[in-house]
């Protein structure tokens, strides 16, 4: 599903050029659950941003579903993103002014789904995540775990092929964290590819494969399953 080859990314300030990704290469097959680990500043998040089409690499190739996407313009990237990729963030990133229902509904609006269909699908997903009863609440009225469920619901409502999770349990206590990890596992078992950046060895164990990075390079790769 994803093939990256010699991927490079540099950050420049006026005086120094920092290498964020240094000729990184790996593949992720459809249906896989991959965890990416490494110390702060090793390039995990940069990698995730490029995989999520939020950022452009400076060199190398990125093939998504058989299409070379590095060099896509903003519009093409947005289009590819909204149909294929769901995001889960450490800090949930829900819109405070929208209710749970409306937050989850948002991706469907941008992909042009009709109102009646939207309602059905949002309700399905909320039911699945066990937060249907909270659908008219605003994010700040929910606990952290509940907020992250909403975020996951929002990430999957469009049935994306790929979910990118950036430390999804980072802001949660362990029991809420486990619940979210169980949710992701369920989704993966249902066929969704998941790439997750994490600091937690515990969370990483949920995955099939762990890629460890240091200074923008892949150091090891452990297959767990």
């Amino acid at each position: 599903m994803i093939t990256i080859d010699n991927l490079e990314k540099f950050y420049r300030t006026e005086e120094v050029q920092t290498v964020a990704l240094n000729k990184l290469s790996f593949q992720v097959k459809e249906g896989e659950f991959v965890a990416i680990m490494g110390p702060s500043g090793c390039g995990k998040s940069t990698l995730l941003n490029i995989l999520g089409l939020l950022d452009d690499p400076d060199g190398g190739s990125f093939v998504f579903n058989g299409t070379e996407v590095s060099g896509f313009n903003e519009r093409k990237r947005a289009n590819l993103r909204k149909h294929n990729i769901g995001f889960v963030f450490q800090s949930f990133n829900l819109i405070d002014e929208l209710t749970v229902f409306e937050n989850v509904e948002l991706p469907l609006i941008y992909t042009g789904v009709k109102t009646a269909d939207r309602k059905t699908r949002v309700h399905e997903v909320l039911e699945k995540m066990g937060i249907m009863h909270r659908r008219n609440h605003f994010p700040q009225q929910l606990s952290g775990g509940q907020q992250q469920r909403v975020a996951v619901a929002r990430a999957v409502v469009n049935n994306p092929k790929l979910i990118l999770a950036d430390e999804p349990t980072g802001n949660l206590d362990s029991s809420n964290g486990n619940e979210v990890m169980d949710l992701l596992t369920e989704l993966n078992e249902a066929g969704t590819t998941i790439i997750m950046v994490t600091h937690s060895e515990h969370d990483a164990k949920y995955s099939h494969r762990i890629i460890r990075m240091l200074d923008g390079e892949k150091v090891t790769e452990n297959v767990l399953v």
């Binding site: 998040s45 941003n49 999520g52 939020l54 950022d55 903003e74 519009r75 947005a78 289009n79 993103r81 909204k82 149909h83 995001f87 963030f89 800090s91 990133n93 829900l94 819109i95 405070d96 002014e97 929208l98 409306e102 509904e105 948002l106 991706p107 609006i109 941008y110 992909t111 929002r154």
Partner: protein, 815 residues
């Protein structure tokens, strides 16, 4: 999607109440100012547009060329209209209008069955019978075509008709009209009209027929095409006639009739046409039937309207962008979920549009409320009725939508350009460019406010200078009583004698005119050894022997008139100092004993100079002092009696004067005015401008401060962690207040530096319209700067103090 935005916008409004309030309140006030001023400008532009034949109606104007100087006038001699019509086939019809120039009020009297109704009316005119053929008047009774054809006929407004006759028909009734200009005569009412809602430069409340009054003979027998330039003359041009074609024929006409005479006098004359619709605003002529509007004031007010709205828009931009850190996550999330930049731009524009529309609704409501007050300040009857001005409402809606776009455009582009990678990582920081722009916009706001403050101060200084300047005569305690009817004039001497017996009254005098009102009489005069070719204009006032003493005009050489010298009557003159130097006398003493003269119908009329008085302001301070001569007239009674009340109790004295009036002239109401107040009326336009500018200045400052307050609030919020840390490290509250206020004060100081020269330039231009004016003092700038700093400091420090007082532990915990 649209509903989603709407919902979001509504929730954003409710959630951030301070922000919403500042924006909606600011935008409402901006729109209200804009709307009020637009209505004023619309009113000024709507003069005379309702006349059906307006496109073909032209006023004939006159240019005097003397000693290379050109002076334009709206009036021409009586005979001009007829001769031009006779010679030029392009003219379909002409009409002449003559103001009852010596009446600021005319006495109307209706007698029936021994009872009588008497009152003063303003704005009376003498008009040709063709007047209503050319101009469209809304007759509710009578036939406009024939109304002024018969001698001694009068057309009145419905209001006067109601005052005189109640619900009875006015047509055919006879009233007595007593006028200083046109004499005492009976008139039959032949028409009643309802004045148009839209304004006209002709503000007449009644029209008298030419025939039947004292002026009849003067108007109909006057053949001169040079003198007595006092008739407003209008032409109705034939369909399809270009005014330029007609104007091109005027020089030939002038040459044919008065070419030779003009050459003998060494002067020139030109004629030109002004379209009816241009008379009020687009004419170079300073005096017309009613004082024309001023394009300059329209530009000033228009600029103020735009600037106030701009200030409100800037508030919106600044508050939106400063709040951007809060909205950055939303932008990031939406982009990650597939929103394109374009979609987000529309979302943010939509939000500002909603605010603008809410502001619009408030503005429309409050405009209705403020309109009467504003009308009073502006001195205009401005109305806003839906049926009449639907387009105007539509225009306001467009204005509101435009405001929404203007205010929302920058935030929309700014917010929608956020990179989700950055903002979602919480790395959001206001870019240098955004912060600089915000500061720049605050400076723009304060520059506008400071310029307005300086303008208000300069205008008010000039106005008080005008009020306090020594006019060269005593303007206080001078009671002016107009003498209109024959009866009043006949009793002048009796009245004067009886007032002189009231002990507090120091002196009583009479005159044709008095300082501050129009002085239409002037003669072209020359001195001994010269001819009419060298003649210079001298303004003339006919007075009685005690007028100069009553006004306390100071004598510098010779003597004034008095009862001891009855032979001064129509033979001698008291000249002012400017007259002395204009005629080339080396000193006042030298002028005394000499004569000046004018030629009339081949005869020389000499006036011996018996005295010279110090220069005084006969006209207001817009105008330079010109040559001025008093002549003694003991034959005809004056138009005005002026009593110097001295230091006594004014109301007590007025009571005494009134009872004297009643004893001699029992049938007429006693009316009076005070000379200083009459003089002040000349500054009405400036007084109104001053008032309007000062109100709008207050509003501009208010909106600016609101914006500054909002920015200070957000700045304090954003720096809350920094403030906490500084406090823990030992900063005092005073240190922190200084820290938070300093940035804003810097901007105010920059604004002062930019605004001062700009304001100086603009106000200096304005002052040039006065012949006598103040210099703009450095104190004005010092005062304004201090004021601006204080206002800004108060606004900002409120938030700064609040932020500095909070327990630092609490601040640090918010992270």
């Amino acid at each position: 999607m649209f509903r989603n935005y709407l919902k979001l916008a509504a929730r954003n409004l409710m959630k951030h109440k301070t922000f919403s309030f500042i924006n909606i309140f600011g935008l409402s006030i901006g729109l209200i100012c804009c709307m009020l001023i637009s209505l004023y400008i619309y009113h000024e532009y709507s003069y005379d547009r309702y006349h059906e034949k307006a496109d073909r109606i032209y006023q004939l104007n006159n240019v005097f060329i003397e000693n290379g100087e050109e002076r334009s006038h709206a009036t021409v001699p009586a005979a001009m209209a007829g001769l031009l019509k006779q010679d030029l086939p392009e003219i379909e019809e002409t009409t002449r209008l003559l103001r009852l120039w010596e009446d600021d009020k005319t006495l109307l009297k209706y007698e029936q069955d021994g009872a009588s109704k008497v009152f003063y009316e303003t704005d009376g005119y003498v008009a040709d019978a063709s007047f209503f053929e050319i101009f469209s008047y809304n007759f509710i009774d009578g036939n406009p075509k024939t109304a002024l054809e018969e001698p001694n006929t009068i057309v009145i407004t419905d209001e006067i008709a109601e005052k005189l006759f109640g619900n009875e028909s006015a047509i055919g009734k006879q009233i007595r009209v007593s006028s200083s200009t046109n004499g005492d005569h009976d008139y039959t009412i032949t028409g009643v009209f309802q004045p148009h809602l839209q304004p006209s430069h002709i503000n007449a409340r009644f029209f008298l027929s030419v025939r039947g009054g004292d002026l009849d003979e003067f108007i109909n027998n006057s053949t001169t095409l040079l003198n007595n330039n006092m008739f407003y003359t209008y032409f109705l041009l034939k369909e399809g006639t270009q005014p330029e074609i007609l104007e091109a024929k005027f020089p030939v006409f002038i040459e044919k009739y008065i070419g030779e005479e003009l050459r003998a006098r060494g002067s020139g004359r030109e004629l030109f046409l002004t379209n009816l619709k241009d008379i009020h605003l687009n004419s170079e002529i300073a005096e017309n039937v009613t004082p024309p509007g001023s394009l300059k004031y329209i530009y000033i007010l228009g600029s103020i309207a735009i600037l106030t709205l701009l200030i409100a828009c800037i508030n919106f931009m600044n508050l939106s962008t400063s709040r951007s850190s809060k909205r950055s996550v939303e932008v990031g999330v939406r982009k990650v979920l597939g929103a394109e930049k374009r979609t987000l731009i529309w979302q943010f524009l939509g939000e500002s549009l909603i605010m603008a529309l809410i502001a619009f609704v408030f503005a429309i409501i409050f405009v209705q409320f403020f309109l009467p007050v504003f009308g009073q300040i502006a001195g205009k009857e401005i109305t806003l009725a839906l049926n009449q001005k639907a387009q105007l409402y539509l225009l306001f809606l467009v204005l509101a939508v435009f405001t929404g776009f203007l205010a929302g455009s920058y935030p929309a582009f700014f917010l929608s350009s956020f990179k989700p990678v950055k903002v979602l990582k919480g790395k959001f920081s206001n870019s240098f460019a955004a912060v600089s722009l915000r500061k720049g916009l605050v400076v723009v706001q304060f520059v506008i406010s400071i310029v307005l403050i300086i303008a208000s101060v300069v205008i008010s200084n000039q106005m008080s200078f005008l009020r306090s300047t020594d006019l060269g005569f005593q303007k206080e305690q001078q009671l002016v009583i107009p003498l209109r009817s024959g009866q009043a004039k006949q009793n002048y001497s009796n009245l004067k004698n009886s007032l002189e017996n009231i002990s507090e009254i120091t002196s009583v005098g009479g005159s044709a005119y008095y300082p501050g009102i129009s002085n239409p009489q002037d003669w072209m005069m020359y001195k001994e050894g010269q001819t009419m070719k060298d003649a210079k204009t001298v303004y003339i006032n006919q007075v009685d022997e005690s007028f100069l003493q009553t006004l306390k005009i100071e004598l510098v050489a010779g003597r004034t008139f008095s009862r001891e010298f009855p032979a001064d009557h129509w033979a001698n003159m008291v000249l002012n100092e400017t007259g002395v130097s204009n005629f080339g006398f080396s000193s006042p003493e030298e002028a005394v004993g000499k004569w000046i003269a004018f030629d009339w119908e081949g005869q020389q009329h000499r006036f011996g100079i018996v005295g010279v008085v110090k220069d005084f302001h006969f006209k207001d301070l817009h105008i330079d002092i010109e040559s001025y001569g008093f002549i003694l007239n003991t034959d005809t009674s004056p138009n005005y009696l002026i009593a110097n009340l001295g230091a006594g109790n004014i109301s007590n004295n007025i009571d005494k004067i009134e009872s004297a009036w009643k004893s001699f002239i029992p049938d007429e109401p006693f009316e009076y005015s005070f000379l200083d107040q009459d003089f002040q009326k000349n500054y009405q336009a400036e007084d109104r401008l001053a008032k309007m500018i000062s109100y709008f200045t207050l509003i501009a400052i208010l909106i600016s401060c609101l914006g500054l307050f909002g920015l200070a609030t957000f700045s304090a919020e954003q720096r809350i962690k920094e403030i906490g840390l500084r406090k823990i490290l030992g900063a005092s509250s005073a240190n922190l207040v200084t820290l938070l206020s300093r940035d804003f004060l810097k901007l105010v100081v920059i604004s002062i530096i930019l605004a001062s020269p700009l304001a100086w330039y603009i106000m200096n231009q304005w002052l040039q319209t006065f012949a006598y004016r103040i210099d703009i003092n450095w104190k004005v700038f010092a005062f304004t700067s201090l004021l601006a700093v204080i206002i800004a400091l108060v606004t900002v420090s409120f938030q700064a103090i609040k932020a500095a007082m909070v327990n630092p532990v609490k601040n640090l915990r918010t992270e």
